[in-house]
């Protein structure tokens, strides 16, 4: 498998911090994902490609108590319903999302980024993307459950 592209069927891991309340237990004790589970200061959520880390979700854990969730690359690429409108409600831009390898972290060759084309012109689109990613990951369930 080449590391210069991410195949549609690749599983992508994401670490979720319970310490920072990126997940919370509901009244039945089930862990729910916060929208912030996929947030990123630079609007490019980072993930690890399972195929390049022996499909071991613990590779992605930032700390032993963190949980790990997953999405499939094609699920991210299928998100095509985020648009930006003008004041009259006319569509100005429709965003397309992709998963690209990130070679900037040499000690983690599995690292990849979820990116938008075009770039976000404000945070509104990104906030909706976070809700969608949360929904996708929540449906797939935990690879590793977080600990309190």
């Amino acid at each position: 498998m080449s590391s210069d592209s991410v195949a549609d069927d690749e599983v992508l891991f994401r670490s979720v911090s319970s310490k920072h309340n990126q997940c919370t237990r509901d009244t039945s004790g089930r862990w729910k994902l916060s929208s912030q589970a996929f947030s990123d200061r630079y609007y490019k959520p980072s993930v690890d490609r399972a195929i390049l880390c022996n499909s071991d979700p613990s590779h992605t854990q930032k700390s032993p108590k963190d949980g790990v969730v997953s999405v499939i690359a094609v699920e991210v690429r299928k998100i095509k319903d985020i648009s930006q409108n003008d004041d009259k409600g006319n569509v100005i831009t429709t965003h397309a999302f992709d998963v690209i390898p990130d070679a900037d972290i040499p000690d983690n060759p599995a690292h990849a980024l979820i990116v938008s084309t075009p770039d976000y012109c404000n945070s509104k689109v990104f906030k909706k993307l976070l809700e969608r990613l949360r929904y996708i990951a929540d449906r797939r369930g935990w690879m590793i459950e977080p600990q309190e």
């Binding site: 729910k32 912030q36 947030s39 998100i79 319903d81 906030k127 909706k128 809700e131 969608r132």
Partner: protein
């Protein structure tokens, strides 16, 4: 002590019409205890909104790079605004007889306080920054058809809480 703290302390007590001699004595004891520091803390801890406010205050300790990937420190003004907003939301729920549920309290990597509520398929996320509060309503995965966002105005707060509860 906040307005909500006083209100909830009163809310927890029996109404005068229901009070028996015994409960009246109990109330007197509670009033006396209220002004002694340890008891005040104990009573305040029972207030439903207090736990969430404490969690918001704890965000003050989330300095720069709290997420390990360059996050901005949580903004102090955003924390103050989030506490005021939560106090307002709690007051609205008591006035409208809406069940109060504590939000998940976290922060965005851009220094905002993030409050999240779930009710079945519905989810409400509120981002509080130093300048304004934004909301995202979610009732399904379709971004165009099942999500709505906007700037949270005073007049909208009640309607969002009613929507979440319905």
């Amino acid at each position: 002590m906040s307005h909500a703290a006083y209100a909830t302390t009163g809310y927890d007590w029996a109404s005068p019409a229901q009070a028996t001699h015994t409960t009246t004595r109990t109330l007197k004891a509670q009033v006396l205890n209220f002004f002694r520091k340890p008891a005040t803390v104990a009573i305040v801890n029972e207030i439903p909104v207090y736990g969430a406010i404490q969690k918001i205050r704890q965000l003050q300790s989330w300095g720069a790079n709290w997420d390990g990937v360059d996050a901005v420190a949580v903004n102090a003004e955003a924390i103050a605004r989030a506490i005021a907003l939560l106090d307002q939301m709690y007051s609205i729920t008591t006035q409208l007889y809406i069940d109060w549920s504590a939000p998940n309290v976290t922060a965005s990597p851009h220094g905002e306080v993030v409050l999240e509520w779930w009710n079945r398929e519905k989810k409400l996320t509120v981002y509080v920054s130093e300048a304004q509060s934004d909301f995202v309503k979610v009732w399904g995965p379709d971004i165009d058809e099942e999500m709505e966002d906007g700037i949270l105005s005073d007049g909208q707060t009640a309607s969002l809480l009613i929507w979440l509860e319905a």
